[in-house]
């Protein structure tokens, strides 16, 4: 390993130690390229393989999280035994057009120089703006999984799980296996989407599709047989409480329900994390099927900016195995751009990755059509807080949208998107409210302009830069 502190210049810097970033960095190192992998988490693995290095074979945790989780151990081991350098707990917060990267670790900032940048920053759970979602005790379903993966922590008071989608059902079965006291499962999926999705079935039966589908069927069966009280077609979810969550209220069919809750976990699918590519001014597009923005990329992950690639869920949701192969393709593309391999060798290195990627993608359109986010999440009612940081409601955004104002004017007028999260949790909602008011699909310009720093940095942090330079 090259010492990351003394070497400020890298052939390739990869941001994100999930499957995409790990695969990219490992391949680059194996091809004798100087590569640094940067991730803001304390351990490698990204969202799916979080905490994998501390996993003991045959432990309760391995059993609960399942074989798709355990799979990641080899990926991380291969990365560790490569010559790639690695910096955990390090956040990227600025990139110049010349690929000078500004990162911070533990409140200390510094700069790195890259010839090529691969952003493998993954996905985040879609914001679920409902009444009361800002109360302490309301978390994402992924947050519960993170506590389980990294700390073996499980809730010991009644948990209400609310949401839909493949990851939601996976998380629910993991919670069950871990002995989390699930008071109720509120399934927000709509049966009518079944019909619309049928057209995507034939393709889903090819490649790795059947494997994904049979796993899904098993999950659903396990949930049905668990005896957990389940409510279907859930709408009008409201979370109630004074200084923390105490109850939920919702409608299922024609009936209204009210249940006690200690913790409420929400999940409505995942969306690409676009803040870095937005800051860089890369071209983005709205994906009607995934109901999200993603940067425009080619086969090799190349964006509209020379030298900057995106791989994995950050470029559009592809799932963990798809992300791994996209990481490989981005690495091969970078090698070619660096002049280390010619086109013929590039294509040879890429062909297996391409085939595998294609096989893992066959079921994706079916899943996207089965579990679209429901309207009340995409364009919430007027009273709902959409910007958590600055406490801005959907109604305030809608009013300005009606007057023809765009997202950046709203930032100035309402401060939405100006808080520490920099619009990560409200950007998509604001864009969808603007588009809905106009009566069209969201356009890339409906999303905020994102400026550096991507993370709040203190003056103290910036001054540490001066000392080092």
């Amino acid at each position: 390993m090259t010492d990351p502190v003394t070497n400020p210049h890298w052939d390739v810097v990869v941001i994100g130690a999930g499957p995409a970033g790990l695969a990219a960095a490992t391949l680059l190192a194996e091809q004798k390229t100087s590569v640094l992998l940067v991730d803001e988490q304390p351990e490698p693995g990204g969202q799916i393989y979080r905490g994998i290095e501390r996993l003991q074979a045959g432990s309760a945790k391995a059993h609960i999280l399942g074989e798709d989780y355990v799979y990641g151990a080899d990926l991380v081991r291969r990365f560790r035994s490569s010559a790639a350098s690695y910096r955990p707990e390090t956040s990227l917060w600025h990139v110049t057009p010349k690929l000078e990267l500004f990162v911070s670790r533990g409140g200390v900032a510094e700069t790195l120089q890259a010839s090529q940048l691969i952003l493998a920053t993954g996905a985040m759970e879609r914001a679920v703006p409902v009444a009361g979602w800002t109360l302490p005790g309301v978390v994402t379903a992924g947050a519960l999984q993170i506590l389980l993966k990294s700390s073996g922590l499980v809730a010991d008071q009644p948990v209400i799980l609310a949401g839909s989608g493949p990851l939601f059902y996976l998380l629910a079965t993991q919670c069950l296996a871990a002995g989390v006291p699930i008071a109720a499962l509120l399934d927000t999926a709509k049966a009518r989407h079944m019909f619309g999705a049928i057209g995507a079935l034939p393709r889903a039966l090819t490649g790795a599709g059947p494997g994904y589908l049979s796993k899904g069927v098993k999950l659903m069966r396990a949930l049905r047989q668990s005896g957990v009280p389940t409510y279907r077609g859930v709408e009008d979810l409201q979370i109630l409480g004074e200084n923390r969550v105490s109850e939920v209220q919702f409608r299922s069919g024609k009936r209204k329900h009210r249940l006690k809750a200690g913790i409420v976990a929400l999940h409505e699918g995942v969306v690409p994390m676009v803040n870095a590519t937005r800051m860089l001014g890369c071209e983005h597009t709205w994906d009607d099927r995934q109901h999200a923005f993603h940067p425009v990329t080619d086969t090799w992950g190349a964006t509209s900016h020379a030298g900057i690639r995106v791989a994995g869920d950050a470029a559009g949701i592809v799932g963990a195995r798809g992300a791994e192969h996209q990481g490989g393709l981005a690495a091969v593309g970078a090698l070619h751009d660096l002049g280390r391999i010619d086109s013929a060798r590039r294509d040879r290195l890429a062909s297996a990755e391409m085939r595998a990627l294609e096989a893992h993608m066959t079921a994706r359109p079916l899943l996207d059509r089965l579990y679209p986010p429901r309207a009340e999440i995409k364009t919430p009612g007027d009273d709902i807080v959409v910007c958590r940081c600055e406490n801005v409601t959907a109604g305030a955004v809608r009013q300005l949208a009606t007057q023809g104002l765009g997202p950046n004017q709203m930032k100035a007028a309402l401060r939405c998107g100006m808080g520490p999260c920099q619009g990560r949790l409200c950007g998509d909602t604001v864009a969808q409210i603007i588009a809905d008011t106009r009566g069209t699909a969201p356009r890339p310009s409906d999303y905020y302009n994102i400026r550096a720093p991507l993370k709040p940095v203190s003056i103290g942090e910036i001054s540490t830069l001066g000392e080092r330079r």
Binding site: W133, T134, P136, L147, S151, G152, R388, N391, P456
Partner: protein
């Protein structure tokens, strides 16, 4: 609020001591500060300056910034992205403003 998985074996369960507002708390190796605080029964991490209402961790993965606390004198650190270390001094500014 949260308990440790009892079935898991002990080898990875090396404990660490740190303080939260001068209270001694035991965490496990591999915990983030946010996980350790939740395990210690803390649910409210900050008061939102705009809403003047309590907030706690929402995403646990660095996205929401609702977990901001003061760690070893540095304010506004994301507790869910920081590994807990022995002797760390964490401050949850109760009723205070933290960003």
């Amino acid at each position: 609020m949260f308990t440790r998985l009892t079935q898991d074996s002990a080898a990875s369960d090396q404990t660490i001591e740190f303080t939260v507002n001068d209270r001694k708390v035991v965490a496990r190796m591999g915990d983030t500060v946010a996980a350790a605080l939740l395990a210690a029964g803390e649910m409210q991490f900050r008061i939102s300056p705009s809403a003047d209402k309590p907030r706690g961790p929402y995403c646990m993965m660095g996205v929401c910034f609702e977990c901001l606390v003061t760690i070893d004198g540095r304010a506004g650190r994301q507790a869910c992205l920081t590994a807990v270390k022995s002797g760390m001094q964490v401050i949850i500014p109760e009723g205070g403003r933290n960003d």
